[in-house]
């Protein structure tokens, strides 16, 4: 009796929109889980809803959070008292060029905008990877502590330096993997396999966590079975 009260009205003081929200969410959740039995129209319905809502959400956020503050407001400040940022005309033109992709006759202009962002991202990726993933990792490997800490820790540190070398050699393609090189490459595979095992375990953990999260919603927020 009390439980039915909870199910349809929520705990005292809960606004109706929240309770309704839980119901809608729960029904959609069940629609998706119906896929586990087999592919069916309920699942397809939920999936198509998901695609549409996701696209609309993204559009709205882009407009309110990026285009208005960065482009529309600077060019058309209205009576806010801000000066017009004329320089933003250029990215405005590039943005329009980008959208010309939809018009076959003018779609070649979209390459200008594409050239701009591809050039920028390429350069930014070069410096970012060079500093954060390349030189910083070289430095970190060189400075792996080999003098402080206990014997076990030092051994493990030496093992990890060797591991880095072995993995790099495994991905070396300019010589046949024979003899010493082959041996080191083999060692590289072992390191990779242990890492993939760790990755496997963590991925299982992640997927299971998502299910737990959904069940916490269903059992607590919707059904009020658990605290």
């Amino acid at each position: 009796m009390n439980w039915l009260q909870l199910l349809f009205n929520g705990p005292p003081g809960t606004p109706a929109s929240v309770v309704w929200g839980f119901w809608v969410a729960a029904i959609l959740t069940i629609c998706i889980y119906s896929f586990l039995y087999k592919d069916n129209p309920l699942y397809k319905f939920a999936e198509s809803l998901f695609v549409g809502l996701g696209a609309a959400y993204w559009l709205a956020l882009l407009y309110h959070e990026t285009l208005v503050p960065k482009l529309i407001h600077p060019l058309f400040p209205g009576d806010s008292g801000d000066p017009v940022m004329w320089i933003r005309i250029f990215p405005g033109i590039l943005a329009i060029f980008m959208l010309l992709r939809f018009f076959p006759k003018l779609s070649w202009l979209s390459r200008w905008a594409l050239g701009f962002i591809v050039g920028m991202y390429s350069a930014v990726n070069i410096t970012g990877f060079a500093q954060g993933d390349f030189v910083a990792q070289i430095y970190a490997t060189m400075t792996t502590p080999l003098r402080s800490g206990g014997a076990l820790e030092i051994t493990l540190n030496i093992v990890s330096i060797i591991g880095v070398f072995a993995v790099l050699i495994y991905f070396f393609f300019s010589k046949e993997h024979k003899g010493v090189l082959g041996g080191v490459a083999k060692l590289g595979i072992w390191f990779l396999m242990v890492a993939f095992g760790a990755s496997f375990g963590y991925t299982v953990m992640g997927r299971v966590s998502l299910l737990i999260g959904r069940m916490q919603f269903m059992l607590r927020d919707w059904l009020h079975i658990i605290e």
Partner: protein, 278 residues
């Protein structure tokens, strides 16, 4: 081949049902297994504890609803940690779905700790651009995020008067589900602008980031729901992550059993086939 009961021919749906039971049962009847804390989580916690009260820290929310069960507890616990230690908080997101998710954790906690929007915290919302946005923030956060999530110009926000770029940010907590995420923050912000960076990631991503932990590029790392639960333990405020740990344990055990049983069935069948072939 056809003789007797073949373990390999179990209907998948029976496996699905077993998984469901393994999740639901410990949620209803908790086992309360003990919780240890791993070094990367401990280091993250310790680093945040060192930050003097009043400092400005940043929470970067880069995730979407699909990984919410893992990452929302991290967001909640970090905000709680920051407010408890009287740190002021700036939220910035590179993923469109993040601002409302962070807001959901932020508003109740602000009320609980009596924090004032615009003075103690601000949610700058979402900005497109990924890596380039990060570099823009390195030059100027107000220019990169001209308004907050609600549309208020940042120059009207008292807290933002003290924030020009990462030089004014004592610590960044990056909650990351993918790209752009932890990797981009390390490459573009931590490396380039000397920022103290910690990260909470999905379990799927966590093993990739251990090199950054060893090199000190990340001061600490929360990996998946377990990382979140350890963080909750350190803060002595058990939440959803801690409550999920029993279910997590049972399902992991179930999957280990599946792997072992599956392999036994496989090798038994192979031996049988070989015997038949002979």
């Amino acid at each position: 081949m056809s003789q007797g009961f073949d373990l390999r021919r179990i209907d998948r749906r029976i496996i699905f049902l077993l998984v469901l039971i393994a999740v639901v049962w410990p949620l209803i009847a908790p086992l309360r297994l003990p919780m240890d804390v791993s070094p990367p989580v401990q280091r993250l916690y310790d680093r945040i504890e060192e930050i003097p009260a009043g400092s400005i820290v940043m929470l970067a929310g880069d995730y979407s609803p699909d990984t919410m069960p893992e990452l929302q507890p991290m967001t909640e616990t970090f905000i709680r940690h920051a407010f408890r230690n009287d740190l002021r908080l700036v939220v910035a997101c590179l993923w469109p779905a993040s601002p409302p998710l962070v807001e959901r954790a932020l508003l109740p906690l602000a009320e609980e700790f009596g924090k004032v929007e615009g003075v103690d915290y601000v949610n700058l919302g979402y900005m497109a651009g990924g890596t380039v946005t990060l570099l823009g923030m390195g030059a100027s956060i107000p220019n990169t995020f001209p308004t907050d999530y609600g549309g208020t110009p940042v120059r009207d926000i008292p807290l933002m008067q003290e924030v020009e770029n990462f030089d004014d940010i004592a610590f960044v907590m990056e909650v990351s589900a993918g790209t752009p995420g932890t990797r981009e923050w390390v490459q573009q912000v931590q490396s380039r602008y000397r920022v103290s960076l910690g990260s909470g990631t999905t379990a799927v991503g966590a093993p990739n980031f251990y090199p950054y932990v060893q090199s000190g590029q990340l001061v600490g790392l929360l990996g998946g729901l377990k990382g979140a639960a350890e963080y909750e333990t350190l803060l002595e405020y058990p939440g959803d992550a801690t409550k999920g740990m029993d279910a997590q344990s049972v399902v992991h055990a179930l999957i280990v059993v599946f792997i072992i049983l599956g392999n036994i069935a496989y090798f038994a069948a192979r031996r049988r086939e070989r015997a038949e072939a002979r």
